[in-house]
Amino acid sequence: MFRKKSDEQAQSMTDWAMDAPAPKPTAPKAPDPDVRKRNVSVIGPTLRFKGELQANEDLVIEGEIEGSIAHQDKNLTIGRQGRVNADIHASVVEIMGEVEGDVRGDELVKLHKTAVVRGNIYAQRLVMEDGANFSGSVDMERKAPLRSASTSTSASVSTTTKQEALKRANLSVAEGGSHLITGGS
């Protein structure tokens, strides 16, 4: 509750469309040029990295990566120019570039029309756009979701991402509200 301001801001920065809004709206602050608006890491188009990469924030890859990518419950985007020769693990994986390796998305794997994927996909939900190039197998076996247990009750079959995000938002707003009351008394 009494987190430092910077922590709170960092938290709100990591929320994006898929995540629940912060329980308490933070007052708008004067823009600080040194603080990035969103916690998004970018691997630029000229970057080539060999090795292992771990992250707990949203990551966009436009460069070349060889090795392994281990993400926690965040989003990974492989941009149009991105070329990845690695096993990937993240919550939401969006692919617009080339991937050679297994792709594991705890929540969603989305192949855009420019995607070229050679490897297996393990995901609860899979979206493949017309034109996407994929060779490998798909395993959509349902496991316990990565997030809190409360979401698993509401995580029945939902048709669209938006609906699920909304549902989750309601849920955690309610939780946040009760937390606020108990915290205030």
Partner: protein, 140 residues
Amino acid sequence: MEAERSESLTHDGTGREPAASREAFKPGEYGPSIIGTTVVMRGELTLAEDLTIEGTFDGSRIDGAKNLAIGARARVRAHIQGESADIAGTVDGDFAGTGTVVLRRTARIHGAISAERLRVEDGTNLENAVLCGRISLTDE
């Protein structure tokens, strides 16, 4: 100094927006490379653009960074070759640059820094550092 720093970091000639106004995150529209605070990289990295490291890089080398910014919470273990650098974090390794290196007060250097020009902030701890180049002290 501050203005110069931000200028050097966004100087890529593509007219990209400054980081602060990049609010709406759309895949396909992003600025220069950023290794964020929660990122841990082990390996070797080559590039030909600006790079900001705020996380951990534990590897052998970083080659070709044009303007390298190492944030105050960053920890970098690598031999680095590049142009210019602005170092506020921990660097364990050597840096060989052709441009200007700015060492901030919070910087911790374990290695040799060589560059055309070096600017060292007043109060910087250079206990384990070797500096080669034209050095000037700044008070900002």
